[in-house]
Symmetry: C2
Subunit: 492 residues, 2 copies
């Protein structure tokens, strides 16, 4: 399984298309000018995103392929021109935001034009009255947040990667932020999407606060990970900065006890923006001064009008006490707030002989405990695994996510197979008990072999049908997300 997966991920990039000859590059330069770059430095810098496997291969001195050229547009019209050209000539285009993806969505080859959106990063508008802001796709997330914060507003979307991810990337991967339990995921925050389709058509999807005017076409782009077109700008629906913020924290005797408390909090119609529950292993690792042997830890960040925050604190304290939880110093939540956007360097782990990653899944309340038990047990059963743990970080009326972490020690040459084997173990435990394989990091090339579990064979066939219709020449990020294997033919 492990080897098969690796092979498939490598092969999926060897799509059949003409090599990008020098004359094609000359042609592109004639059409687009100096934004078409082939200098070694830019090609090298765009050879991968933040996927651990790419970094591992790099660290192992496996020469990663670089894109054949990097195009750095500053206007939507340039993106249209590029896609029209590439569509006419069946040239593969790989859209690249700020490179924070962690699932193999970006894996360039020298047959690929890498479309670098980091150069499209303007703030087009901040509308305080309508509470909207429009950013070009390559805008850095933290810069976008800071721009609206200067007006007393917030996007309310805080992925851990906020300092290194782009607004367009949030759309393309269906991102979630740390405050999602109250403020929603990116699909609840986006107002409209400007995108260029593979044929060069410019679409502006989303016109009103809400519509019943046919299917919501924004969802063709959201989560498509560059396979359906290129997101060039995004309008987000904002919030005012909260009047008050407060913290609470509680110890749980077990993960299921805490999960049940969360279910009751949501059932009572409370929505603390942040609600995170760490198992004892993660408490010890991340919040050592709060560690109590065998105890899980649930903490919350409460925000909103001061009177509501007061009401929420009191009612939730009552609910969790009834569920058997014990108070913990809420300073642990503040501690988390201070370090929550830290992004690790993979090579720091490789150099210690360790391969690590996180894997987020979600499931209904009734299935999440079994998935936790099985995934952690399966990871721990693998020789070399030294930690296997999880926390929850996003709650819904009908269930919750889990964010698994693993660390394993092995020889450098075994790290890649260790990585894929750990992933396989969590995916298989999730699938076995009816969970969803991906909460918010996207699928990329990494989860592609498991996509059928979420969508079913007919759902994958439907996705392939949509892809073939929108991108008939298959130019958009080929090999990503959508299984090549024809699982079910879609007969006419």
């Amino acid at each position: 399984m492990c080897r098969a997966l690796v092979t498939r991920i490598t092969l999926s990039n060897l799509f059949e298309r003409l090599p990008l000859s020098d004359s094609v590059i000359d042609d592109l330069r004639n059409v687009l000018g100096a934004i078409v770059r082939t200098d070694a430095e830019i090609l090298h810098s765009r050879r991968h995103d933040y996927w651990a496997v790419s970094h591992l291969r790099d660290w192992l001195k496996v020469a990663l392929e670089t894109p054949r050229c990097v195009v750095q547009p500053t206007t939507t019209a340039e993106v249209q021109t590029l896609l029209r050209y590439c569509n006419a000539h069946s040239i593969a285009v790989m859209p690249f935001g700020l490179g924070s993806g962690v699932c193999g969505g970006i894996l360039p080859t020298n047959e690929v034009v890498l479309l670098d959106l980091s150069t499209m990063n303007a703030i087009r508008e901040i509308n305080e009255h309508d509470m909207t802001a429009t950013f070009e796709a390559g805008k850095n997330g933290l810069e976008a947040e800071e721009a609206v914060a200067a007006h007393g507003l917030t996007i309310g979307h805080w992925p851990q990667s906020i300092g290194v991810s782009s607004v367009g990337g949030w759309i393309s991967t269906r991102a979630s932020g740390q405050f999602s339990t109250a403020y929603g995921n990116i699909e609840d925050i986006v107002y409209s999407i400007e995108a260029v389709l593979p044929n060069g058509d410019l679409v502006q999807l989303g016109k009103a606060p809400r519509a019943a005017a046919g299917p919501d076409l924004r969802h063709v782009l959201m989560g498509a990970e560059g396979t359906m077109g290129v997101v060039t700008a995004v309008t987000l629906s904002l919030r005012k900065a909260a009047q008050r913020r407060a913290y609470s924290a509680f110890y749980c005797d077990s993960m299921p006890q805490g999960i049940e408390a969360q279910r009751q909090i949501i059932g009572a119609d409370w929505r603390p923006p942040v609600m995170r529950q760490y198992d004892a292993s993660e408490v010890k690792r991340n919040f050592r001064e709060y560690f109590l042997e065998g105890k899980a830890l649930l903490f919350m960040v409460h925000e909103g009008p001061a009177v509501r925050v007061e009401a929420e604190l009191g009612d939730i304290a009552r609910i969790v006490a009834a569920a058997g939880l014990q108070p913990c110093d809420p300073a642990v939540a503040e501690l988390w707030m201070g370090k929550r956007n830290h992004v690790v360097e993979w090579k720091d782990f490789f150099e210690k002989g360790a391969v690590v990653d996180t894997i987020e899944i979600s499931a209904p309340w009734s299935k999440i405990d079994t998935i936790y038990d099985d995934a952690v047990a399966s990871l721990k059963a693998r020789e070399g695994v030294i930690t296997a743990s999880a926390h929850s970080s996003h709650a819904y009326r009908s269930g919750v996510n889990y964010y698994f972490s693993f660390a394993a020690l092995c020889e450098p040459e075994a790290m890649e197979s260790m990585y894929f084997d750990c992933w396989r173990r969590v995916m298989e435990a999730t699938i076995k008990h009816g969970g969803g394989i991906a909460h918010h990091h996207g699928a990329g090339r990494l989860r592609k072999p498991y996509l059928e579990s979420d969508l079913g064979a007919t759902g994958v066939a439907l996705l392939r049908t949509l892809k073939a219709a929108v991108d008939p020449n298959g130019i958009m990020n080929p090999g990503n997300l959508i299984p090549e294997e024809t699982i079910t033919e879609y007969p006419r």
Copy 2:
């Protein structure tokens, strides 16, 4: 324009396909048995939905076409069999729920197989722990709500039509309920969708509380109004019945003053489930005992944990007072609660020489006041119009909807052109000022000529591309929703 619109709506059903001969019906009977019905009574009863124009034509003794046959499945497998047969023979299929549509989504001809889902109405599961319930598509909305209410739960989705609409219809039209400002629209309530694609494939879309596993394919069916396949069952994510309910009401000197108060309530992060604002004309008509000359009326229903409802009442009273509103007896909101699901009989109006309808649109805060002024003025400028008014009923962070009402007196033979002209006036005022043409009733054949305003020419082309891919033989509800006119070719 008016005549052109009528002509287009009529023509759109004259799609080219083979007439449904007796032998086709015999064939269908061989395959599906007695669920294929051709008795005059059933054909007659399914000749239209709740669209005012169909009822008007009926009342005028214009012989409405009936479907060639009505198929009444009780299993998903029967729906698959039907679609496979019809797809192979290019036979048009028109899915029909409980017939509460108001935009011309159902307009049978005798070349159409009407797929009557009212016979698929089972409750498959109510899961108290996961807070989900699964209903077959034809389940009556009120019966569904009552079934979960017996467990202390609520769907929280209260369209005015709840007593006469189906759960599947909610999905197909992207319905909104009266409590949407807190509880969301149907897309926020649906957990998963079981549907049969035109080729007979069964898909189950939605597996987990949230996913980032490619585009959210549930949106292929949501809002498709029967053009992309047949919704056969729906799993909804429930809530517990609220601990407390309270009411509040306030007079506004003008509609813009009340809209600004709503904007500030939402901006402060309060979400009363119901927030409705009626202009003076509607207050006089609907809440006569509360009418004050020239005053608009904003009322709210507050629900949730008792302590939060208390906090919400106090804070909102402060916000609206600062915005210049004056208290009104909250009993007006209770009065509305008691009569909110009343559904009129169109012929009661026709018999009085009047044609009436409601038209819902939405817009950003900054555009809604101008749309209101222009739409009402344009309606009133039409000779024969005796009332033109509006209320808002669904608020969002970035805007709000308006629900326009008109009544016009004219000779019976002029009623249809009066109807389309009044619609045109509201659509044009909305479009002129940048609003969205449809908040929650769907588009059907009625709004189809205006769809390009919401989606743009390229967006319509994208929708047509998706339709052609999913339904290559064009069997699903042909003529509905998607403009036939090739506005933009989608080149390959």
